[in-house]
Symmetry: C2
Subunit: 241 residues, 2 copies
Amino acid sequence: MQRYFILSSQIHSPFITIQGDDVHHIKNVMRMHIGDEVLCTDETQHTYRVQIEGIAGVVSTRILEEIKEQTELAIAITIAHGVVSRDKTEEVIRRLAELGVSEYCPVAMKRSKFQLDVAKLDRFHKIIKEACEQSQRNTLMKFQNPLAFQELEEVASCYTYKYVAHVDGSMPLKAILPPLGTDKILFVVGPEGGFDSKELEQLQSWGYRIAHCGARVLRTETAPLYLASICGYVYGDSHEN
Amino acid sequence: MQRYFILSSQIHSPFITIQGDDVHHIKNVMRMHIGDEVLCTDETQHTYRVQIEGIAGVVSTRILEEIKEQTELAIAITIAHGVVSRDKTEEVIRRLAELGVSEYCPVAMKRSKFQLDVAKLDRFHKIIKEACEQSQRNTLMKFQNPLAFQELEEVASCYTYKYVAHVDGSMPLKAILPPLGTDKILFVVGPEGGFDSKELEQLQSWGYRIAHCGARVLRTETAPLYLASICGYVYGDSHEN
Protein backbone atom coordinates (compact mmCIF):
# COMPACT_ATOMS: atom_id res chain seq x y z
CA MET A 1 0.00 0.00 0.00
CA GLN A 2 1.28 3.48 -0.85
CA ARG A 3 2.69 5.31 2.14
CA TYR A 4 2.95 9.05 2.82
CA PHE A 5 4.95 10.75 5.53
CA ILE A 6 2.86 13.40 7.26
CA LEU A 7 3.24 15.62 10.31
CA SER A 8 1.25 14.80 13.42
CA SER A 9 -0.27 18.28 13.06
CA GLN A 10 -2.11 16.94 9.98
CA ILE A 11 -3.95 14.44 12.21
CA HIS A 12 -7.29 15.51 13.69
CA SER A 13 -8.54 12.13 14.78
CA PRO A 14 -10.42 10.42 13.15
CA PHE A 15 -9.30 12.49 10.13
CA ILE A 16 -5.95 13.05 8.45
CA THR A 17 -5.45 15.78 5.87
CA ILE A 18 -2.81 15.05 3.24
CA GLN A 19 -1.36 18.17 1.67
CA GLY A 20 1.52 19.54 -0.39
CA ASP A 21 3.25 17.45 -3.09
CA ASP A 22 1.51 14.30 -1.84
CA VAL A 23 -1.80 15.61 -3.21
CA HIS A 24 -0.33 15.74 -6.71
CA HIS A 25 1.11 12.25 -6.19
CA ILE A 26 -2.23 10.79 -5.08
CA LYS A 27 -4.20 12.53 -7.86
CA ASN A 28 -1.88 12.39 -10.85
CA VAL A 29 0.74 9.71 -10.22
CA MET A 30 -1.23 7.06 -8.34
CA ARG A 31 -4.56 8.22 -9.92
CA MET A 32 -6.40 7.33 -6.74
CA HIS A 33 -10.08 7.83 -6.07
CA ILE A 34 -12.41 8.32 -3.12
CA GLY A 35 -12.58 5.03 -1.25
CA ASP A 36 -8.95 4.08 -1.94
CA GLU A 37 -6.67 3.40 1.01
CA VAL A 38 -3.15 4.60 1.83
CA LEU A 39 -0.83 4.54 4.83
CA CYS A 40 0.13 7.72 6.69
CA THR A 41 3.19 7.75 8.97
CA ASP A 42 3.94 10.70 11.20
CA GLU A 43 7.21 11.91 12.69
CA THR A 44 6.58 9.91 15.88
CA GLN A 45 6.57 6.70 13.77
CA HIS A 46 2.84 6.11 14.19
CA THR A 47 1.26 4.64 11.09
CA TYR A 48 -2.41 4.75 10.14
CA ARG A 49 -4.33 3.01 7.40
CA VAL A 50 -6.69 5.66 6.06
CA GLN A 51 -9.44 5.85 3.45
CA ILE A 52 -9.69 8.75 1.03
CA GLU A 53 -12.94 10.74 1.48
CA GLY A 54 -12.22 13.77 -0.69
CA ILE A 55 -9.65 14.87 -3.27
CA ALA A 56 -9.31 18.58 -4.01
CA GLY A 57 -6.62 21.08 -2.98
CA VAL A 58 -5.93 18.68 -0.12
CA VAL A 59 -6.77 14.99 0.26
CA SER A 60 -9.19 14.33 3.13
CA THR A 61 -8.98 10.91 4.72
CA ARG A 62 -10.52 9.01 7.60
CA ILE A 63 -8.45 6.76 9.88
CA LEU A 64 -9.48 3.10 9.61
CA GLU A 65 -6.91 1.73 12.06
CA GLU A 66 -3.52 2.33 13.55
CA ILE A 67 -0.99 -0.14 12.18
CA LYS A 68 1.53 -1.67 14.53
CA GLU A 69 4.56 -2.21 12.39
CA GLN A 70 8.27 -1.63 12.62
CA THR A 71 10.41 -1.59 9.52
CA GLU A 72 13.49 0.20 10.84
CA LEU A 73 16.90 -1.34 11.38
CA ALA A 74 17.96 -2.34 14.86
CA ILE A 75 21.01 -0.04 14.58
CA ALA A 76 21.11 3.64 13.62
CA ILE A 77 23.65 4.08 10.81
CA THR A 78 25.16 7.46 10.00
CA ILE A 79 27.17 7.91 6.81
CA ALA A 80 29.48 10.96 6.71
CA HIS A 81 30.49 11.30 3.06
CA GLY A 82 33.05 13.49 1.32
CA VAL A 83 31.00 15.76 -0.93
CA VAL A 84 30.34 14.20 -4.35
CA SER A 85 28.57 15.56 -7.42
CA ARG A 86 24.87 16.34 -7.27
CA ASP A 87 23.97 13.31 -9.43
CA LYS A 88 25.95 10.98 -7.22
CA THR A 89 24.55 12.55 -4.06
CA GLU A 90 21.05 11.90 -5.37
CA GLU A 91 21.80 8.29 -6.21
CA VAL A 92 23.51 7.61 -2.89
CA ILE A 93 20.83 9.15 -0.69
CA ARG A 94 18.06 7.35 -2.59
CA ARG A 95 19.71 3.96 -2.04
CA LEU A 96 20.79 4.66 1.54
CA ALA A 97 17.24 5.69 2.42
CA GLU A 98 15.97 2.36 1.04
CA LEU A 99 18.64 0.44 2.91
CA GLY A 100 17.48 1.87 6.23
CA VAL A 101 20.25 4.38 7.01
CA SER A 102 19.35 6.96 9.69
CA GLU A 103 21.49 9.94 8.71
CA TYR A 104 23.51 11.12 5.73
CA CYS A 105 25.95 13.93 6.27
CA PRO A 106 28.05 15.50 3.48
CA VAL A 107 31.52 16.58 4.64
CA ALA A 108 33.88 18.98 2.88
CA MET A 109 37.16 17.13 2.31
CA LYS A 110 40.42 18.11 0.63
CA ARG A 111 39.87 16.01 -2.46
CA SER A 112 36.16 16.84 -2.87
CA LYS A 113 35.86 18.44 -6.27
CA PHE A 114 32.35 19.60 -5.49
CA GLN A 115 30.61 21.86 -3.04
CA LEU A 116 27.22 20.82 -1.82
CA ASP A 117 24.61 22.78 -3.71
CA VAL A 118 22.43 24.00 -0.84
CA ALA A 119 19.88 25.26 -3.38
CA LYS A 120 19.21 21.56 -4.01
CA LEU A 121 18.46 20.66 -0.40
CA ASP A 122 14.72 20.64 -1.09
CA ARG A 123 15.26 18.22 -3.93
CA PHE A 124 17.43 15.97 -1.72
CA HIS A 125 14.72 15.93 0.94
CA LYS A 126 12.11 15.08 -1.67
CA ILE A 127 14.19 12.15 -2.98
CA ILE A 128 14.64 10.84 0.57
CA LYS A 129 10.93 11.17 1.37
CA GLU A 130 9.97 9.25 -1.78
CA ALA A 131 12.56 6.53 -1.15
CA CYS A 132 11.47 6.10 2.48
CA GLU A 133 7.82 5.96 1.44
CA GLN A 134 8.49 3.44 -1.32
CA SER A 135 10.59 1.20 0.88
CA GLN A 136 7.89 1.31 3.60
CA ARG A 137 10.06 2.83 6.30
CA ASN A 138 8.66 4.18 9.56
CA THR A 139 10.91 7.19 9.62
CA LEU A 140 12.66 9.56 7.25
CA MET A 141 16.41 9.39 6.79
CA LYS A 142 17.93 12.70 7.95
CA PHE A 143 19.99 14.75 5.53
CA GLN A 144 22.31 16.66 7.83
CA ASN A 145 23.74 20.07 7.10
CA PRO A 146 27.14 19.82 5.44
CA LEU A 147 30.06 19.72 7.87
CA ALA A 148 33.57 21.10 7.64
CA PHE A 149 36.10 18.27 7.98
CA GLN A 150 37.30 19.52 11.38
CA GLU A 151 33.77 19.11 12.76
CA LEU A 152 34.24 15.34 12.54
CA GLU A 153 36.27 15.72 15.75
CA GLU A 154 33.21 16.92 17.65
CA VAL A 155 30.97 14.35 15.93
CA ALA A 156 33.35 11.62 17.10
CA SER A 157 32.46 12.33 20.72
CA CYS A 158 28.85 11.24 20.04
CA TYR A 159 29.82 7.78 18.77
CA THR A 160 31.48 4.88 20.58
CA TYR A 161 31.75 3.00 17.27
CA LYS A 162 33.11 5.09 14.43
CA TYR A 163 34.97 3.90 11.37
CA VAL A 164 36.68 5.17 8.27
CA ALA A 165 36.17 3.05 5.16
CA HIS A 166 39.52 3.01 3.43
CA VAL A 167 41.04 0.76 0.81
CA ASP A 168 44.34 0.51 2.71
CA GLY A 169 42.70 -0.31 6.02
CA SER A 170 44.21 -3.36 7.68
CA MET A 171 41.33 -4.37 9.95
CA PRO A 172 38.59 -6.21 8.09
CA LEU A 173 35.09 -4.99 8.82
CA LYS A 174 34.20 -8.44 10.15
CA ALA A 175 36.81 -8.10 12.87
CA ILE A 176 35.87 -4.65 14.09
CA LEU A 177 32.11 -4.24 13.81
CA PRO A 178 30.61 -3.73 17.27
CA PRO A 179 28.48 -6.41 18.98
CA LEU A 180 24.80 -7.04 18.29
CA GLY A 181 22.66 -4.67 20.29
CA THR A 182 24.85 -1.65 19.54
CA ASP A 183 22.52 1.31 19.09
CA LYS A 184 24.45 3.43 16.61
CA ILE A 185 27.43 3.44 14.31
CA LEU A 186 29.18 6.04 12.17
CA PHE A 187 31.09 5.48 8.92
CA VAL A 188 33.18 8.12 7.19
CA VAL A 189 33.62 7.58 3.44
CA GLY A 190 36.04 9.65 1.34
CA PRO A 191 35.15 11.56 -1.82
CA GLU A 192 36.37 10.62 -5.31
CA GLY A 193 40.13 10.34 -5.04
CA GLY A 194 39.84 9.24 -1.42
CA PHE A 195 41.16 10.78 1.77
CA ASP A 196 44.18 13.00 2.00
CA SER A 197 46.84 11.33 4.22
CA LYS A 198 46.57 14.14 6.76
CA GLU A 199 42.82 13.64 6.96
CA LEU A 200 43.36 9.96 7.72
CA GLU A 201 45.82 10.82 10.49
CA GLN A 202 43.41 13.32 12.00
CA LEU A 203 40.49 10.90 11.89
CA GLN A 204 42.59 8.30 13.71
CA SER A 205 43.67 10.83 16.31
CA TRP A 206 39.98 11.59 16.90
CA GLY A 207 39.27 7.93 17.61
CA TYR A 208 38.04 6.69 14.23
CA ARG A 209 39.23 3.21 13.29
CA ILE A 210 40.23 2.42 9.74
CA ALA A 211 38.18 -0.42 8.28
CA HIS A 212 39.09 -2.54 5.30
CA CYS A 213 36.19 -3.12 2.91
CA GLY A 214 37.47 -6.10 0.92
CA ALA A 215 40.19 -6.47 -1.69
CA ARG A 216 38.34 -4.55 -4.39
CA VAL A 217 38.50 -0.76 -4.63
CA LEU A 218 34.96 0.57 -4.27
CA ARG A 219 33.89 3.86 -5.79
CA THR A 220 32.91 6.62 -3.42
CA GLU A 221 29.24 6.15 -4.30
CA THR A 222 29.36 2.35 -3.87
CA ALA A 223 31.10 2.18 -0.48
CA PRO A 224 28.18 3.70 1.51
CA LEU A 225 25.75 1.19 -0.05
CA TYR A 226 28.12 -1.66 0.79
CA LEU A 227 28.42 -0.56 4.41
CA ALA A 228 24.68 0.02 4.84
CA SER A 229 23.82 -3.38 3.31
CA ILE A 230 26.23 -5.19 5.62
CA CYS A 231 24.99 -3.41 8.75
CA GLY A 232 21.42 -4.22 7.74
CA TYR A 233 22.39 -7.87 7.48
CA VAL A 234 24.50 -8.02 10.64
CA TYR A 235 22.26 -6.05 13.02
CA GLY A 236 18.90 -6.94 11.49
CA ASP A 237 15.57 -5.23 11.95
CA SER A 238 14.36 -3.68 15.17
CA HIS A 239 11.16 -5.79 15.22
CA GLU A 240 13.32 -8.92 15.49
CA ASN A 241 14.72 -7.84 18.84
CA MET B 1 48.14 1.67 -10.41
CA GLN B 2 45.90 1.64 -13.50
CA ARG B 3 44.96 -1.86 -14.61
CA TYR B 4 44.00 -3.14 -18.07
CA PHE B 5 42.44 -6.47 -18.91
CA ILE B 6 44.22 -8.05 -21.86
CA LEU B 7 44.15 -11.41 -23.62
CA SER B 8 47.05 -13.79 -23.11
CA SER B 9 47.54 -13.61 -26.89
CA GLN B 10 48.76 -10.02 -26.35
CA ILE B 11 51.66 -11.34 -24.26
CA HIS B 12 54.94 -12.12 -26.07
CA SER B 13 57.17 -12.36 -23.05
CA PRO B 14 58.90 -10.11 -22.05
CA PHE B 15 56.58 -7.80 -24.00
CA ILE B 16 52.87 -7.04 -23.77
CA THR B 17 51.06 -5.11 -26.50
CA ILE B 18 48.06 -3.11 -25.33
CA GLN B 19 45.56 -2.39 -28.08
CA GLY B 20 41.98 -1.31 -28.81
CA ASP B 21 40.15 1.18 -26.57
CA ASP B 22 42.85 0.88 -23.89
CA VAL B 23 45.26 2.79 -26.16
CA HIS B 24 42.92 5.77 -26.18
CA HIS B 25 42.54 5.46 -22.40
CA ILE B 26 46.31 5.41 -21.81
CA LYS B 27 46.98 8.29 -24.24
CA ASN B 28 44.06 10.63 -23.75
CA VAL B 29 42.41 9.81 -20.43
CA MET B 30 45.38 8.87 -18.25
CA ARG B 31 47.79 10.98 -20.37
CA MET B 32 50.58 8.50 -19.74
CA HIS B 33 54.06 8.64 -21.17
CA ILE B 34 56.92 6.29 -22.00
CA GLY B 35 58.36 5.03 -18.72
CA ASP B 36 55.00 5.00 -16.90
CA GLU B 37 53.84 1.73 -15.37
CA VAL B 38 50.49 -0.07 -15.51
CA LEU B 39 49.12 -3.48 -14.58
CA CYS B 40 47.98 -5.98 -17.20
CA THR B 41 45.73 -8.89 -16.21
CA ASP B 42 44.91 -11.66 -18.65
CA GLU B 43 41.98 -14.05 -18.78
CA THR B 44 43.90 -16.65 -16.76
CA GLN B 45 44.10 -14.13 -13.87
CA HIS B 46 47.84 -13.58 -14.29
CA THR B 47 48.82 -10.00 -13.56
CA TYR B 48 51.96 -8.24 -14.74
CA ARG B 49 53.46 -4.89 -13.82
CA VAL B 50 54.66 -3.45 -17.10
CA GLN B 51 56.48 -0.32 -18.25
CA ILE B 52 55.39 1.61 -21.31
CA GLU B 53 58.06 1.65 -24.06
CA GLY B 54 56.11 3.08 -26.96
CA ILE B 55 52.76 4.81 -27.55
CA ALA B 56 51.38 4.87 -31.08
CA GLY B 57 48.53 2.85 -32.68
CA VAL B 58 49.22 0.30 -29.93
CA VAL B 59 50.97 0.71 -26.59
CA SER B 60 54.16 -1.36 -26.35
CA THR B 61 55.21 -2.43 -22.88
CA ARG B 62 57.86 -4.55 -21.22
CA ILE B 63 57.06 -6.88 -18.31
CA LEU B 64 58.82 -5.82 -15.10
CA GLU B 65 57.42 -8.55 -12.89
CA GLU B 66 54.50 -10.88 -12.42
CA ILE B 67 52.36 -9.79 -9.49
CA LYS B 68 50.98 -12.39 -7.14
CA GLU B 69 47.72 -10.97 -6.01
CA GLN B 70 44.20 -12.15 -5.56
CA THR B 71 41.37 -9.68 -5.27
CA GLU B 72 38.43 -11.95 -6.07
CA LEU B 73 35.76 -13.05 -3.63
CA ALA B 74 35.94 -16.49 -2.07
CA ILE B 75 32.49 -17.28 -3.49
CA ALA B 76 31.25 -16.93 -7.07
CA ILE B 77 28.02 -14.92 -7.05
CA THR B 78 25.59 -15.02 -9.96
CA ILE B 79 22.75 -12.51 -10.14
CA ALA B 80 19.85 -13.41 -12.45
CA HIS B 81 17.84 -10.21 -12.80
CA GLY B 82 14.47 -9.47 -14.38
CA VAL B 83 15.25 -7.17 -17.29
CA VAL B 84 15.30 -3.49 -16.25
CA SER B 85 15.81 -0.34 -18.30
CA ARG B 86 19.12 0.28 -20.03
CA ASP B 87 20.08 3.03 -17.55
CA LYS B 88 19.39 0.79 -14.59
CA THR B 89 21.16 -2.15 -16.20
CA GLU B 90 24.24 0.04 -16.64
CA GLU B 91 24.18 1.23 -13.04
CA VAL B 92 23.62 -2.26 -11.65
CA ILE B 93 26.36 -3.98 -13.66
CA ARG B 94 28.86 -1.24 -12.83
CA ARG B 95 28.28 -1.64 -9.10
CA LEU B 96 28.05 -5.44 -9.17
CA ALA B 97 31.37 -5.60 -11.04
CA GLU B 98 32.96 -3.46 -8.31
CA LEU B 99 31.44 -5.60 -5.58
CA GLY B 100 33.07 -8.72 -6.97
CA VAL B 101 30.11 -10.51 -8.58
CA SER B 102 31.04 -13.27 -11.07
CA GLU B 103 28.09 -13.28 -13.43
CA TYR B 104 25.12 -11.09 -14.29
CA CYS B 105 22.33 -12.60 -16.28
CA PRO B 106 19.24 -10.67 -17.47
CA VAL B 107 16.07 -12.76 -17.46
CA ALA B 108 12.81 -12.02 -19.28
CA MET B 109 10.03 -11.96 -16.67
CA LYS B 110 6.32 -11.28 -16.88
CA ARG B 111 6.49 -7.85 -15.29
CA SER B 112 9.65 -6.70 -17.10
CA LYS B 113 8.63 -3.59 -19.01
CA PHE B 114 11.84 -3.70 -21.01
CA GLN B 115 13.58 -5.99 -23.43
CA LEU B 116 17.31 -6.19 -23.24
CA ASP B 117 18.78 -4.06 -25.99
CA VAL B 118 21.29 -6.49 -27.49
CA ALA B 119 22.69 -3.65 -29.59
CA LYS B 120 24.03 -2.32 -26.29
CA LEU B 121 25.92 -5.47 -25.32
CA ASP B 122 29.22 -3.91 -26.36
CA ARG B 123 28.52 -0.95 -24.13
CA PHE B 124 27.63 -3.23 -21.20
CA HIS B 125 30.90 -5.15 -21.67
CA LYS B 126 32.83 -1.87 -21.76
CA ILE B 127 31.22 -0.68 -18.52
CA ILE B 128 32.06 -3.99 -16.84
CA LYS B 129 35.67 -3.92 -18.06
CA GLU B 130 36.17 -0.37 -16.77
CA ALA B 131 34.56 -1.20 -13.43
CA CYS B 132 36.66 -4.35 -12.97
CA GLU B 133 39.82 -2.45 -13.91
CA GLN B 134 39.04 0.41 -11.57
CA SER B 135 38.21 -1.85 -8.67
CA GLN B 136 41.43 -3.85 -9.28
CA ARG B 137 39.79 -7.19 -9.88
CA ASN B 138 41.64 -10.20 -11.28
CA THR B 139 38.84 -11.23 -13.56
CA LEU B 140 36.01 -9.73 -15.56
CA MET B 141 32.43 -10.15 -14.44
CA LYS B 142 30.55 -12.12 -17.11
CA PHE B 143 27.48 -10.61 -18.74
CA GLN B 144 25.47 -13.66 -19.76
CA ASN B 145 23.13 -13.81 -22.70
CA PRO B 146 19.57 -13.00 -21.69
CA LEU B 147 17.54 -16.00 -20.60
CA ALA B 148 13.89 -16.82 -20.98
CA PHE B 149 12.29 -17.32 -17.58
CA GLN B 150 11.80 -21.06 -18.16
CA GLU B 151 15.54 -21.48 -18.59
CA LEU B 152 15.94 -20.83 -14.87
CA GLU B 153 14.83 -24.43 -14.41
CA GLU B 154 17.92 -25.71 -16.21
CA VAL B 155 20.14 -23.13 -14.50
CA ALA B 156 18.88 -24.41 -11.15
CA SER B 157 20.51 -27.78 -11.75
CA CYS B 158 23.96 -26.11 -11.73
CA TYR B 159 23.53 -24.59 -8.26
CA THR B 160 23.15 -26.27 -4.89
CA TYR B 161 22.46 -22.88 -3.30
CA LYS B 162 19.92 -20.78 -5.18
CA TYR B 163 17.65 -18.13 -3.81
CA VAL B 164 14.92 -15.75 -4.82
CA ALA B 165 15.06 -12.32 -3.18
CA HIS B 166 11.49 -11.45 -2.40
CA VAL B 167 9.89 -8.96 -0.05
CA ASP B 168 7.38 -11.50 1.24
CA GLY B 169 9.99 -14.18 1.88
CA SER B 170 9.73 -15.67 5.34
CA MET B 171 13.28 -17.00 5.72
CA PRO B 172 15.78 -14.28 6.59
CA LEU B 173 18.96 -14.35 4.54
CA LYS B 174 20.94 -14.88 7.73
CA ALA B 175 19.16 -18.17 8.36
CA ILE B 176 19.56 -19.64 4.88
CA LEU B 177 22.90 -18.53 3.45
CA PRO B 178 25.12 -21.56 2.86
CA PRO B 179 28.18 -22.30 5.01
CA LEU B 180 31.60 -20.68 4.57
CA GLY B 181 33.57 -22.46 1.90
CA THR B 182 30.60 -22.69 -0.48
CA ASP B 183 31.95 -22.17 -3.98
CA LYS B 184 28.99 -20.58 -5.72
CA ILE B 185 25.59 -19.09 -5.13
CA LEU B 186 22.77 -17.81 -7.33
CA PHE B 187 20.25 -15.09 -6.57
CA VAL B 188 17.20 -14.33 -8.69
CA VAL B 189 15.91 -10.75 -8.37
CA GLY B 190 12.62 -9.63 -9.88
CA PRO B 191 12.12 -6.67 -12.23
CA GLU B 192 10.27 -3.47 -11.30
CA GLY B 193 6.90 -4.59 -9.99
CA GLY B 194 8.42 -7.83 -8.71
CA PHE B 195 7.67 -11.44 -9.56
CA ASP B 196 4.38 -12.71 -10.84
CA SER B 197 2.89 -15.20 -8.36
CA LYS B 198 3.16 -18.03 -10.92
CA GLU B 199 6.83 -17.25 -11.42
CA LEU B 200 7.40 -17.53 -7.67
CA GLU B 201 5.65 -20.89 -7.61
CA GLN B 202 7.72 -22.16 -10.52
CA LEU B 203 10.98 -21.01 -8.98
CA GLN B 204 10.12 -22.84 -5.78
CA SER B 205 9.20 -25.99 -7.69
CA TRP B 206 12.64 -25.79 -9.36
CA GLY B 207 14.36 -25.75 -5.96
CA TYR B 208 14.89 -22.03 -5.40
CA ARG B 209 14.35 -20.87 -1.83
CA ILE B 210 12.65 -17.58 -1.10
CA ALA B 211 14.84 -15.26 0.95
CA HIS B 212 13.69 -12.29 2.96
CA CYS B 213 15.90 -9.23 2.54
CA GLY B 214 14.89 -7.16 5.57
CA ALA B 215 11.72 -5.27 6.43
CA ARG B 216 12.25 -2.54 3.85
CA VAL B 217 11.15 -2.91 0.25
CA LEU B 218 14.24 -2.61 -1.94
CA ARG B 219 14.04 -1.38 -5.51
CA THR B 220 14.94 -3.86 -8.23
CA GLU B 221 18.24 -2.06 -8.83
CA THR B 222 19.15 -1.93 -5.12
CA ALA B 223 18.47 -5.57 -4.20
CA PRO B 224 21.37 -7.01 -6.28
CA LEU B 225 23.83 -4.56 -4.64
CA TYR B 226 22.51 -5.49 -1.21
CA LEU B 227 22.94 -9.22 -1.88
CA ALA B 228 26.42 -8.82 -3.40
CA SER B 229 27.61 -6.64 -0.49
CA ILE B 230 26.41 -9.14 2.07
CA CYS B 231 27.99 -12.12 0.32
CA GLY B 232 31.25 -10.19 0.05
CA TYR B 233 31.13 -9.61 3.79
CA VAL B 234 30.04 -13.12 4.77
CA TYR B 235 32.31 -15.18 2.48
CA GLY B 236 35.26 -12.78 2.31
CA ASP B 237 38.06 -12.67 -0.20
CA SER B 238 39.70 -15.72 -1.72
CA HIS B 239 43.19 -14.65 -0.53
CA GLU B 240 41.99 -14.94 3.06
CA ASN B 241 41.32 -18.66 2.66
